[in-house]
């Protein structure tokens, strides 16, 4: 396929056989100088006999926030987990199509999974710090990737905690068990872990659903801040959240990416009737 032009439809005739995907908005045309970080093409995924993703094609712009919305079970988390191959952990999964990160197909071969997951990190629905100290949580990634040690590591931990605005609060408590932190702090810590391994993409799977509204607001602020350094893809149940933080939004329904486009367009003038119904609360 044509990777360089940014126009993936230039010479991909097989897309023509798939009338259900609304191609004009999918993917959005990005302006000059804006780089596509992740591109999923004709992605199909089966759990056993059940097809959870149907011919999904989308592009994620570098250093932007892309939101995936849709009712539960629509495949948005599955799609997210395709982007760093976390679905590999599940038995009986079959995937067709391609996902390119920086132009390289991550499903092309067995590949270097640790390196992929280091580059494309993930934040989960329930904050999941390890049962280790705060320091060890942040240092975990750099240690397993042999990125730093000793004083260098101390610096990296500080830098990472600063990136998520935890350093000032926690700098005297680094040896405490991370399980003692509040939910919001735990979630920030999980993001700091990714900052420590210099992830380039952060996948967030409903990162705020365990948090109260105030903590949610603060995590959203953090996301806007992180956008300067990271490409963020967020799956959210909360449409307002998608509207508030994201630059692009994809609406999924029953395994299909129904519509994908600039968030303002999706929320103000959706092209697909189903998107409109969902946005306006007629179902979902």
């Amino acid at each position: 396929m044509n990777r360089k032009t940014g126009d993936m439809f230039a010479n991909s005739p097989e897309l023509g056989t798939c009338p259900r995907v609304l191609r004009p908005t999918n993917p959005p045309e990005f302006g000059d100088g804006e780089k596509v970080k992740i591109r999923a093409e004709n992605l199909n995924l089966w759990y056993g006999d059940f097809q959870a993703l149907i011919d999904v094609t989308m592009a994620v712009r570098e250093k932007s926030i892309t939101a995936l919305i849709g009712s539960s079970g629509c495949g948005k988390s599955t799609l997210l987990r395709c982007l760093n191959r976390m679905n590999d952990l599940i038995d009986d999964v079959r995937i067709e199509g391609s996902v390119r990160v920086d132009g390289r197909d991550i499903y092309a071969s067995a590949g270097d999974l640790p390196a992929l997951r280091k580059k494309v990190g993930m934040v989960f629905q329930r904050p999941n710090p390890f049962p280790l100290s705060i320091y060890e949580n942040v240092a975990f990634g750099p240690r397993v990737h042999h990125q730093a040690k000793g004083g260098e590591l101390d610096g990296l931990v500080e830098e990472s905690l600063r990136a998520v605005d935890l350093w000032d609060v926690l700098k005297d408590r680094l040896r405490e068990n991370a399980l003692k932190l509040s939910l919001e702090q735990k979630q920030r810590l999980c993001i700091a872990r990714l900052a420590a391994v210099k992830s380039e993409v952060v996948l967030m799977d409903e990162p705020c659903s365990a948090l109260d509204p105030y903590a949610t607001m603060k995590i959203e602020d953090l996301m806007r801040l992180l956008k300067a350094k990271f490409t963020i893809v967020i799956v959210t149940h909360n449409m307002q959240q998608a509207a508030r933080v994201s630059d692009e939004t994809g609406f999924m329904l029953l395994g299909e990416l129904v519509e994908f486009g600039a968030t303002t367009d999706i929320f103000t003038r959706p092209r697909d009737k189903r998107t409109e119904d969902y946005i306006t609360g007629r179902f979902g």
Partner: protein, 293 residues
């Protein structure tokens, strides 16, 4: 009339359940009181310090020499040897079964472990005498194959199922999120196990080791058959020893009731009881700590 009958029935049932529930407590107390009554009499003949610290156990010489230090050391040596073998192997096996083995192999392995725990100790002892003891004698060039090490090997077999089963439970109880978090950071399977899963499962693994010790230190039959039963202080693990349990089992039949020897054997029982109690208590503490987190 009818109502009072129903009430009486309910009362009787309640009492019955209460009795069943408290029976174990009553038995423990009764056993301990009995042990204490029979065993304490030995201290009319020897002091506590002498009993625990003296180096000679000649219960039928006159006057009887009742020092159980060789027996305690024998038990400790055999137990330590068994643990040195069973704990690393057992934990490694638990990790393999819980985290590495493919599904079908996992089921097979788990049933094998259960079968291993179902083998009667006397059968293991029998195998020990006929196979292990001559093998060790020839292989290591020892004057006799009946050594503390043989006992350790036998006991390691017996402790493994306990250690494997409880460690595996502890490993499985580690929340999936920890593993996912580690994998999502690019940790390999091995790194995830060593750096995250072990931390989560640690209290349970300690408890498993403690319960393994409990199983080992109270075991009698297999040890008695393969350790040679010489009540001397061993210098290496390749010498015959006699354990606390084997002493009771071997001598109880021939000790005349009411003699110092008879009471001394009960006192040995108290020592064993206290050791097992302490071990079980420690294991419980760790298990509970694991649950709280």
């Amino acid at each position: 009339m009818k109502r009072s009958l129903r009430r009486a029935k309910e009362f009787a049932l309640e009492r019955l359940l209460f009795l069943s529930g408290t029976a174990s407590v009553v038995f423990v107390v009764l056993i301990f009181v009995f042990l204490l009554r029979e065993g304490a009499a030995v201290f009319g003949h020897v002091s506590l310090g002498h009993f625990l610290g003296a180096k000679f156990w000649y219960p039928i010489s006159s006057p009887a020499k009742l020092g159980i230090l060789p027996l305690i050391l024998g038990s400790l040596l055999v137990t330590a040897g068994a643990l040195a073998i069973a704990v690393p192997l057992g934990i490694a096996a638990a990790f393999y079964i819980a985290e590495v083995a493919p599904k079908r192999l996992r089921t097979v392995l788990k049933s094998c472990v259960e079968i291993l725990s179902a083998i009667p100790s006397v059968v293991l002892g029998f195998l020990g005498i006929t196979l292990l003891v001559p093998f060790l004698k020839n292989f290591l060039g020892l004057p006799t194959g009946l050594t503390a090490f043989s006992g350790s090997l036998m006991l390691a077999f017996m402790a493994m199922p306990t250690i494997i089963t409880i460690s595996e439970d502890a490993i499985n109880a580690v929340p999936r999120e920890y593993k996912e978090g580690a994998v999502a950071l690019g940790a390999t399977h091995w790194q995830t196990l060593v750096r995250v899963v072990i931390h989560g499962a640690f209290p349970g693994i300690i408890a498993a080791a403690m319960l393994g010790i409990g199983r080992v230190i109270g075991e009698t039959m297999a040890v008695m058959m393969v350790t040679g039963n010489a009540a001397v202080i061993p210098r290496t693990i390749f010498e015959p020893v006699r354990t606390l349990t084997a002493t009771i089992a071997a001598e109880m039949g021939e000790a005349a009731q009411g003699t110092p020897h008879y009471h001394a054997l009960f006192a040995v029982g108290i020592v064993l009881f206290l050791i097992s109690f302490a071990i079980n208590l420690t294991a419980d503490l760790f298990l509970n700590r694991g649950k709280k987190r």
